[in-house]
Symmetry: C2
Subunit: 291 residues, 2 copies
Amino acid sequence: LARGRARGAEWEQAAIIGVGLLGASLGMALRERKLAGRVVGVARRPETLKAALEVGAADETTADLPAALAGADLVVLATPVRTIIQHLHEIGPHLARGAVITDLGSTKRRIVNAACSLPDPTRFVPGHPMAGSDRSGPRHARAGLFEGATWFLTPAPETDEMALRRVDALARALGAQPLLLEPARHDELVAFSSHLPHALAVSLMNSCLPLLAGDPPLSRIIAGGYRDTTRVAAADPVMWRDIFLTNADALGRALASLRVQLAALEAALDDPEALEALLASASAARREINS
Amino acid sequence: LARGRARGAEWEQAAIIGVGLLGASLGMALRERKLAGRVVGVARRPETLKAALEVGAADETTADLPAALAGADLVVLATPVRTIIQHLHEIGPHLARGAVITDLGSTKRRIVNAACSLPDPTRFVPGHPMAGSDRSGPRHARAGLFEGATWFLTPAPETDEMALRRVDALARALGAQPLLLEPARHDELVAFSSHLPHALAVSLMNSCLPLLAGDPPLSRIIAGGYRDTTRVAAADPVMWRDIFLTNADALGRALASLRVQLAALEAALDDPEALEALLASASAARREINS
């Protein structure tokens, strides 16, 4: 099917529900690369719709979700996770026949469960591009956001093979590298690779609140290390609230692992050899990731 | 005195003990900005001495510490902290009359105490430039490393005023911003702003060791957030071992604060409002640092 449309766009009309940083970046990329004949952006707030249009994230924007879904052969759910779940319960009656539905949510189990509410759950391809920024909203969107990123796809056993293939091709067309995982395995892994770092950055920042307006102020006593370690803490609190709430059990296990490591480090603070060993293993591992 | 040398270099001969990333960067900057008539670099390992010469960090290098000290009116201790302490106990007999001694160590109380061993402790100006990198060694040195950095100076009550003024002027000439603090206050603050972030990056990295060579490997399931949060963990384990060992009590208190925050976050994982409040306060604080 995908090959058969080689002379035209891959999709006739894409409806992107939620045109924040990710949704708007996707819209820009779909338009720039002519992957969709037409992109409709959906959001509730007029200022978001205005910004999405201005940055070129959509050909048209609307707050009317059913209207946007009416002619769409591709539907992308790009809001915070709990809103994605809510939309999966609501959009069924408004979907066009044969539409492929995907999402950009950072946790997958709860979303996959909610997709059972769809009239035809086989048409839903759960996705999660590992792309983002500490900045949010369409004004920070860019078509190249997905270049080089891992794009998780976590299909259910019943997911339609052609729908999966088309979303896989979409991810590749945006420069991303698709990676198939089971939803539970995905959530367990990103608890360590994404949610735990975020939880640490947030907790580090909150530990330093008393120093923020101190004398000297926090901004004068930090360097690149502090800035990098806490950078992600600046991100959108609502997006991250939903991620943490929908992956609380896996994040709890990751936090437990971290506590073990922190205790080991603290126990080694008067033991030069043990301390150096902990620092050396982290240093070697971090260098391995770089190489 | 400083003003009287305006037509020549500020220092006749600088001896830099330890030409790793920081010491070599200092040597390059002293030479490029003609702040010292001559720069002598000291290290034990031949390959370090060779690299320091090759990158232009010194006019001359030697493994002979007493020889390097003989003609130096500026002595900069730039090794890991526990080696700085050892050198403070050893260099006294070899110092030139009137020499100013300073250091680049990341913790200050233990170093200030060790300086009592010097024949004239009033000539020692304890310093700590908040500059560095996850890369170590003279090959990664650059003259601009200190530009814009805070450069802590933690003089004792007896520190010679003119020596302090000259080291302050040196820091400014390198583009840094000097900041005077008492040694204990310095160590307490950097425990939060530098050592705690490092401890977290190391512990996060060590928590993920089982995933490093997993399927998929860690490198495929991470994005910019993980990279930034763990970046400093790649740094030199020996340098950081010494920092942690010589600031164990203050770092222990910082870790205790962090544990309180982690517990609060974990307790909020089933409470949307409390969770959003924690994420929002960190996000606002992090944005404030950026602005």
